[in-house]
């Protein structure tokens, strides 16, 4: 054998095997996530689709499976998302504008605020639930009502909205601000007419993703007193339940049919979630700015 041909050969059989094994391991990690998700989805769809009908969407829960729906829970979830949108977006964007445009980042208290907001995003949701019970339900005397649930979800996702809005605002190049100031615009005019319009796609995307997180939350709602059995339409200041809680309640009933109704309710929840995420992605792609 010539030495040239020898040089072209793999260094050792071991090297090649290690490469193949490593690649296989990576593929396996990927598969674990995807297969699990796929099986779950398939299982939910197989069981739930036959029960995904008008009864589920229009009827309140009932003791008999044929009559049982999830209308109060679906409505309450939609109401809460609406309130959440009205509370979390203005507060979150306002905070983000202050921190990015007004706060002097060299001051220690602004850095402390900054650090705390990032920490808040990592606080377990049950802790927010306890806070809601103590301050909203008892302290403010709101009682176990839908508004209390919506407000606690607001606090829960506020840090996420602030962080994403800040990133969107930071992505607006400084040259745009300077161009505005150089024309004799005030800080308010620069923010309102230049920075915010450019940041809106990013802010909208972040807000929708935060809402999508809130929609699946169960623990804090249970703590502020969401009931598991509500047969009437929710009101702002009345008792309420939410879709994830309704699903939990149906699954824990003894009759098998209710587990199938739960599967159908899961499909509704997933559909709302996926619609919101798809809308966020569409917004991002449609209005993404290239500088």
């Amino acid at each position: 054998m010539s030495s040239d041909a020898f040089r072209l050969r793999s260094r050792s059989r071991g090297d090649r095997t290690r490469g193949v094994v490593f690649q296989a391991l990576l593929l396996l990690s990927l598969a674990i996530g995807f297969v699990t998700l796929g099986v779950l989805l398939f299982d939910v769809l197989r069981r739930g689709i036959p029960y995904l009908d008008a009864t589920l969407l229009t009827k309140p829960p009932s003791a008999s499976p044929e009559e049982a729906g999830a209308r109060p829970a679906i409505l309450a979830t939609i109401y809460m998302m609406g309130i959440l949108l009205l509370t979390v977006v203005p507060i979150g964007v306002g905070t983000a504008i202050y921190l990015e445009e007004y706060a002097n980042k060299e001051r220690w208290y602004n850095r402390l605020l900054d650090l705390n907001i990032q920490n808040l995003a990592a606080v377990p949701s049950i802790v927010y639930g306890i806070l809601g019970l103590a301050f909203l339900v008892r302290g403010l005397g709101l009682g176990r009502v839908l508004l209390a649930g919506a407000l606690i979800l607001t606090l829960l996702v506020l840090p996420t909205v602030i962080v994403s809005a800040r990133e969107a605002i930071r992505a607006v190049p400084d040259s745009i601000r300077q161009g505005g100031y150089a024309l004799g615009a005030t800080q308010w005019q620069v923010i309102w007419r230049q920075v915010l319009p450019s940041a809106i796609p990013g802010i909208a995307t972040g807000s929708i993703l935060a809402l999508a997180r809130a929609i699946g939350e169960t623990a804090p709602l249970i703590l502020v007193g969401a009931l598991t059995y509500v047969s009437f339409n929710p009101t702002l200041m009345g008792p309420f339940t939410a879709l994830p809680i309704q699903i939990y309640q149906y699954i824990s009933r003894p009759q098998d049919e209710f587990k199938l109704i739960a599967a159908a309710a899961i499909i509704v929840l997933l559909a709302i979630l996926l619609t919101m995420n798809a809308f966020a992605i569409w917004l991002r792609n449609r209005y993404q700015k290239r500088w």
């Binding site: 002097n104 060299e106 190049p173 040259s175 745009i176 601000r177 300077q178 161009g179 505005g180 100031y181 150089a182 024309l183 004799g184 615009a185 005030t186 005019q189 007419r193 230049q194 450019s198 700015k289 290239r290 500088w291």
Partner: protein
């Protein structure tokens, strides 16, 4: 704006550099009205001086160029005239700049009004991500000049020699223009609020030679109506467009190695480039340094 007594200011640094900070003597320019009278200006970033001891006068309807090597503080200096340094929290401006005799940094002066009267064009074209029309209309709109907006936009674009190229596409995004057109758009935008002075911070450094040439021609025309101050890296450009040229340099502190910008020489452009009064200027303009 407050009228301020110019003798009341203590130009500590001005005295040190007084012999270098001369203006033109016995020339037609020197008899023109003074727009800016800078006395002992010092700019500090977080307490560290970036530029120190600058005194000079800028005359009306002339192009004044600031040249010098990187880090000599010429961009820092030009940003003092429209108080853009106010936007940097750590920046601090000391000394005096008189604008038609009034202290630009007086306590009753609103920097927003200053920036309306003293426009600025930046190194990199920075059109807003809006239509061509809305880019020009932004300035008048924030000032509440909503009457005759279309005429105002047209006039600004005509003055910036851009009207013929964009008159049929005013609704298109300003980002669709070429780099040179974008920079002329930014000049038109600055003109739209009827400033008296236009500051240009290396306005052609990101442009190709043809676009650069058009901007230079434009400066020549604009100085009939406006007072122009330009920072440039390009010495030929200063020689071509400027009536007056100030040469800045860097002084390195022997003890701590700190670099501070200083004004070396300020005179008629022709003099700076043909018979400079300072060896450092001569070294720079002849290409031996920088």
């Amino acid at each position: 704006m407050t009228e301020m007594d110019s003798t009341a200011t203590p130009p500590r640094m001005a005295e040190v550099h007084v012999e270098t900070a001369v203006g033109p003597k016995d020339s037609e320019l020197s008899r023109r009205e003074v727009v800016f009278d800078v006395q002992g200006l010092e700019v500090l970033y977080a307490g560290v001086p970036a530029l120190t001891g600058v005194s000079l006068k800028i005359h009306k309807n002339a192009v004044t160029a600031f040249i010098g090597p990187s880090g000599c503080g010429k961009s820092t200096f030009i940003r003092c005239f429209n108080r853009m340094n106010d936007l940097i929290p750590s920046a601090c401006v000391e000394g005096t700049i008189l604008y038609h005799g009034a202290d630009l940094y007086g306590s009753e002066v609103d920097p927003v009004e200053v920036r309306k009267l003293i426009g600025m064009v930046f190194q990199k074209p920075n059109p807003f991500p809006k239509s061509i029309f809305d880019n020009i209309a932004f300035g008048p709109r924030v000032l509440g000049w909503n009457k005759g907006l279309a005429e105002r936009v047209e006039q600004a674009l005509r003055r910036a020699a851009l009207w013929d190229e964009v008159k049929d596409r005013l609704k298109e995004s300003a980002l669709s223009l070429s780099g040179g057109q974008q920079q002329r758009l930014c000049i038109a935008r600055a003109l739209s609020v009827e400033p008296e002075v236009i500051l240009m911070d290396e306005p052609a450094s990101a442009l190709d030679p043809i676009s650069t040439h058009r901007i230079e021609d434009l400066m020549d025309e604009l100085k009939q109506q406006y007072t122009i101050v330009i920072v440039t890296h390009n010495m030929q450009q200063a020689a071509r467009v400027a009536d007056m040229t100030a040469f800045f340099s860097v002084e390195v502190d022997e003890d701590d190695g700190r670099r501070t910008g200083i004004l070396v020489e300020y005179d008629l452009t022709q003099k700076i480039f043909t018979k400079p009064g300072d060896q450092r200027t001569e070294d720079y303009v002849t290409g031996r340094f920088g």
